[in-house]
């Protein structure tokens, strides 16, 4: 049977951090992916080759050993590639992203083995051995993900599914029981509200949960504060070079200056901004506007103030870091305990600040810290569910029949169902019968 195949990829080794991460790719596009993402554009079959792995922008992610096994003499029977990289979280995540942007998709649990079976590659004894293993793989993935998320995501998903089931129950009751007095007749309003709320939640989750994108693109950190508080000096200290021009003249920094740094293994973009103050200077005013914009987009905001002044209040949000600069000029006791104390010019307190920044970044990734395969699978599933939710609302608003809306809601719940378990028609009928007195 000739099946149309796409190319799949997955982390084949245990979750990072580990000594090495082994990524496996299988399918017809393996050779294209090699050409697109590796420093060696072709590989000698079944030879380990040291290659650089690039991301979509051509930046090197890592170098590692790659082995190309042309089909059918491979595990799956298809062209297969295995890459051993350094086993860091970010490297692994970035490398997977690189494979995916080159045309692969994440494999479903057990899909490599399934392909191997379908190509008749595994004999009976090995099939027996791996069958258990696959089962463990999929269940462990789910369990691991849900556990690490402290149950929060599980509850969240379960809540979404419950909402979708309620919507479907309303829609299906109105479709399947039109002659029943108790069955809902007009479902547009409750279903519309529910779908809108869900769409909003899914978008929020994607926004917050899209940590891999931030790991790939870098976290945004903005340094904010009044003119001449020492923001640019701090930036230069963090950059360990003269990235920004530093003068005694307040308002020297007009535009946002961004530097790319690695802190604690995280890629970050630190932006030095124009000092925030009222100004009639057109150029400076534009700088201030840009500073505020940078502040609003930042994952972490560092407010720098002169230790001789009062700490900033305006625009400070919970979770922002407050840093008192020029602490050499004041009695340390006068500065609030919650405030980090530095003397940027002399480089004092910088490493303590870095430690604090890293712990903030850790906390951010911790919150979303699911194992990455599950997480990427989640993101894809949620994105697809979102597409259907949008379509369902469109159908609802355009006055199409309930059957169209139900179709998209059902597809949305199926997508979420692939993440946590299934919604089958019986669940929906159960919800119908428990909510409405059906039976003429």
């Amino acid at each position: 049977m000739a099946l149309r195949r796409d190319t799949i990829c997955a982390l084949a080794s245990g979750p990072p951090p580990a000594a090495i991460s082994i990524l496996r790719v299988s399918g017809p596009q393996v050779q294209e992916i090699i050409a697109a993402r590796f420093s060696a554009t072709t590989l000698v079959p079944r030879h380990a080759t040291l290659v650089d792995v690039f991301d979509a922008e051509g930046e090197v992610i890592d170098s590692g050993l790659a082995v190309f096994m042309p089909g059918p003499a491979s595990y799956t029977g298809e062209d297969t590639l295995e890459i051993s990289l350094h086993g860091g979280r970010i490297i692994t995540e970035l490398a997977l992203e690189a494979l995916m942007t080159a045309g692969a998709r994440l494999a479903e649990p057990g899909e490599f083995t399934r392909r191997a079976f379908e190509h008749g590659k595994l004999d009976l004894t090995r099939a027996e051995a791996v069958a258990d293993l696959i089962d463990a793989e999929s269940q462990a993935q789910l369990a691991q993900a849900l556990k690490q998320m402290d149950g929060a995501l599980e509850t969240l998903y379960a809540g979404w599914r419950a909402d979708l089931t309620t919507c479907l129950a309303l829609l299906e009751a109105s479709i399947d029981f039109p002659d029943e007095e108790d069955a809902p007749d007009r479902v547009e309003k409750p279903v519309g509200e529910s779908l809108e709320g869900l769409e909003c939640e899914l978008r929020k989750a994607l926004e917050h949960g899209n940590i891999s994108e931030r790991i790939r693109d870098g976290f945004k950190i903005a340094i904010l504060g009044k003119p001449n508080a020492g923001k640019s000096t701090l930036l230069n200290q963090l950059a360990k070079r003269e990235a920004a021009i530093v003068t005694e003249i307040p308002g020297t920094t007009r535009d946002v200056i961004e530097i790319r740094l690695s802190i604690g293994g995280y890629l970050v973009w630190i932006s030095d901004t124009a000092g925030l103050r009222e100004t009639s200077d057109i150029v400076e005013a534009e700088g201030v506007r840009r500073a505020r914009e940078a502040a609003s987009k930042a994952d972490l905001r560092i407010w720098v103030f002169d230790a001789q002044d009062n700490p900033p209040v305006d625009g400070v949000q919970p979770g922002d870091l407050r840093v008192a600069n020029k602490c050499d000029l004041v009695d340390p006791g006068t500065v609030s305990r919650e405030t980090l104390k530095i003397t940027a010019k002399a480089g004092i307190g910088i490493s303590a600040l870095e430690t604090e920044m890293i712990s903030r970044l850790n906390a951010m990734t911790q919150n979303i810290g699911a194992p990455m395969i599950t997480r990427a699978r989640h993101r894809q599933g949620i994105e697809r569910a979102l597409t259907h939710l949008v379509a369902a609302q469109h159908q609802l608003k355009s006055g199409s029949g309930a059957e169209f809306v139900a179709e998209d809601v059902r597809l949305a719940s199926r997508e979420l169902g692939t993440l946590t378990g299934h919604i089958n028609p019986d669940t929906v009928l159960g919800a119908v019968f428990s909510s409405f007195c059906i039976g003429k």
Partner: protein
């Protein structure tokens, strides 16, 4: 004809499953006998005299598309045709009709008694005849032996059927009918897995004693739409049904006496349908509701019996007398027959294969309520499948199956044999994943060609079908060829994207705001099409986008369905299965990998192991020569 007591197929039972089974087998050319106690009860509607509804109406149209009987008989006896869900899209329109019980029976008997290849025999069936572990016929109560290559049993609720009404217990199939003890013992003796279900029926009322003037009336559709693709129009006079409601007094009486209800006294163990609760259940489970709707449905044009739909009950007679007369319009009503609950055993349909044949006894087929379903339509659909496949078996052909993407019949059979039942199984549109393609309007397009190929469809219908197909095909081409720029469309006031992309009439119809009437004004050549063809194409075009999207799903479904699992697969030899997964697979014995995947709680790991095992088997066979 040879020996009159020798047949290809014997169908036991003359209900809705039995009639369709006998007719289907006979249509394919098998010499068929229908054996029933009483010929005069063939085609009897034992419960609510109505055919169709949501999902059910779809089944009726599918039976018709395969040239079955139910739709044509209903068209000759329907006294209140209504298309349910008119306000929604055509995919979920549900044709339904209130039926004149007598007219239905007469029309059905006329079909059955005048059917080619079909002999009707009045006899009870005492036992199955079995030779070499296969069914070879049946033994009549008369003592006669009837030989056959396959037997279809469609005897409804006769397995340990008990009628409950308050403290009364009457062993029976239906009121006034003899349960068949010998045949039941034989089925129990096969060791098939069984379950127990219950269902109920309301009191029957004398319509002359109802005060209709006080009630709301629900009229039939102005232009009744027939069930059958062969019926041009409905000739039977149409009537209205009454609507009334229970009230707090009714509820109080029922609540006070609920312990006397056979269900609430604990006398009934079987599970009832959630979608058709007794009035006791409604009041108990939805205590906050102060009234429940009742449809008063006349059972015939010249029959005063009225079926009060919505108040089935197993309360004692005296309580029924009191609570029924508390209802508006029924103050002086005469009860002709009291309501009751019936409890019965059913055969777990997971013991059947996809042709509805009992896996452990080749040649024996079961269809209808005995498989845990409810409803005439579900019974008829199973009858058709069982009769067809019984006949194929006798000819040495493999089962003919319908998949979930082509018919509600496929959904029904697959649900039954894969998931079993926990309550009397009824069809709903929400059970069909491919609901937007499985419409009641296109059952002929989905199935009639198949039916012709299977030898189920007669010459007349086949000719009509080919004519219609050709008209649809040319209409479709015409609509696709009739094109316009978005700019021109805008001039007509149509809201479409101004992207410069020319669109066809077919594509315009996918817009919810553009109907066939709009399209006709723009393209006069389309106006010339036959109205029925136009309607059909409008519906098709409307769903085209969604159906296109479903194609991949359907392809995936069919890929998995094409991976067959051998009947005799030894699941103990399949490595890597958990005990739970193995037990489930052994119960169902799925015919395909796709079916295995739909078993509740199947894991990807178990499926993969199964696939690997099956893939390796032919190799091993080869290796061993």
């Amino acid at each position: 004809m040879s020996d009159p007591l020798e047949f290809d197929i014997i169908v036991v039972g003359g209900g809705h499953a039995g009639c369709e089974a006998a007719s289907a087998a006979a249509r394919t050319g098998a010499r068929t006998a229908l054996i029933t106690h009483k010929i005069e009860t063939i085609g009897e509607m034992s419960c609510n005299p109505a055919i169709g509804g949501l999902g059910k109406g779809h089944l009726v149209r599918e039976i018709d598309a395969l040239d079955g009987l139910m739709a044509r008989v209903a068209d000759q006896s329907g006294i209140q045709f209504r298309m349910l869900n008119r306000s929604k899209g055509p995919a979920v329109w549900g044709p339904r009709a209130q039926i004149d019980r007598k007219l239905y029976r007469q029309a059905m008997q006329s079909e059955i008694l005048n059917h080619t290849n079909l002999t009707v025999i009045a006899d009870g069936v005492e036992d199955l005849l079995i030779e070499k572990d296969m069914v070879s016929g049946v033994l009549g109560e008369s003592g006669r032996h009837y030989a056959a290559g396959a037997v279809v049993i469609t005897t409804g609720t006769f397995l340990k059927g008990i009628i409950h009404r308050g403290a009364e217990r009457i062993p029976a199939g239906r009121v006034g009918e003899q349960p068949a003890i010998g045949l039941a013992d034989r089925l129990y003796g096969l060791g098939l897995p069984m379950g127990r279900l219950k269902t109920g029926t309301p009191a029957r009322l004398n319509g002359k004693t109802i005060d209709w003037t006080r009630l709301d009336m629900q009229a039939a559709d102005e232009t009744p739409i027939p069930f059958s693709y062969l019926t041009d129009r409905i000739e039977v006079p149409q009537i209205a049904c009454g609507i009334t409601h229970t009230n707090p007094e009714t509820h109080a009486i029922i609540a006070e006496n609920i312990n006397q209800s056979a269900v609430y006294s604990g006398a009934i163990a079987g599970r009832g349908p959630r979608y058709c609760p007794s009035i006791e259940d409604k009041i108990h489970r939805f205590a906050e509701k102060t009234r429940h709707q009742i449809f008063l449905e006349p059972e015939g044009l010249d029959d005063d019996t009225v079926y009060p739909n919505g108040i089935s009950t197993s309360l004692p007679r005296d309580v029924q007398d009191v609570f029924v007369r508390q209802i508006e319009g029924l103050e002086d009503v005469e009860i002709l027959e009291y309501g009751y609950a019936i409890e019965y055993d059913y055969v777990d349909p997971r013991a059947l294969d996809v042709g509805l044949q009992v896996k452990v006894l080749p040649g024996l087929f079961l269809a209808g309520q005995i498989n845990g379903t409810t409803g005439y339509e579900e019974a008829g659909a199973q009858g058709l499948v069982a009769g067809l496949n019984a006949a194929r078996r006798v000819r040495g052909d493999s089962h003919a199956t319908f998949d979930r993407a082509e018919a509600y019949i496929g959904v029904l059979i697959d649900d039954l044999i894969t998931r079993g039942v926990t309550e009397p199984y009824r069809m709903f549109t929400s059970r069909a994943e491919y609901r937007l393609s499985l419409r009641s309007d296109n059952a002929d397009q989905r199935l009639t060609a198949r039916g012709i190929e299977l030898g189920l469809v007669g010459k007349h219908r086949a000719e009509m079908f080919h004519v219609k197909q050709a008209a649809l095909e040319s209409g479709r081409s015409l609509m696709k060829a009739s094109q316009m720029t978005p700019n021109d469309a805008q001039k007509l006031g149509w809201k479409v994207n101004q992207d410069g992309q020319r669109r066809s009439a077919w594509e315009f119809l996918a817009y919810p705001t553009i109907s066939i009437a709009h399209v006709e004004t723009a393209f006069p050549q389309i106006a010339a099409l036959h109205p029925a063809i136009k309607d059909q194409l409008e519906i098709e075009a409307m769903y085209a986008g969604y159906i296109e999207r479903q194609k991949e799903d359907v392809a995936a479904l069919r890929r998995e369905e094409s991976l067959t699992l051998p009947d005799d697969l030894d699941y103990r030899a399949v490595g890597g299965l958990t005990n739970e997964a193995r037990a489930k697979l052994e119960t169902v014995r799925p015919a395909t990998l796709g079916q295995a995947a739909r078993i509740e709680g199947m894991t990807p790991g178990a499926l993969t192991a199964l696939l690997a095992f099956v893939r390796r088997r032919p190799d091993r066979k080869k290796a061993h020569g």
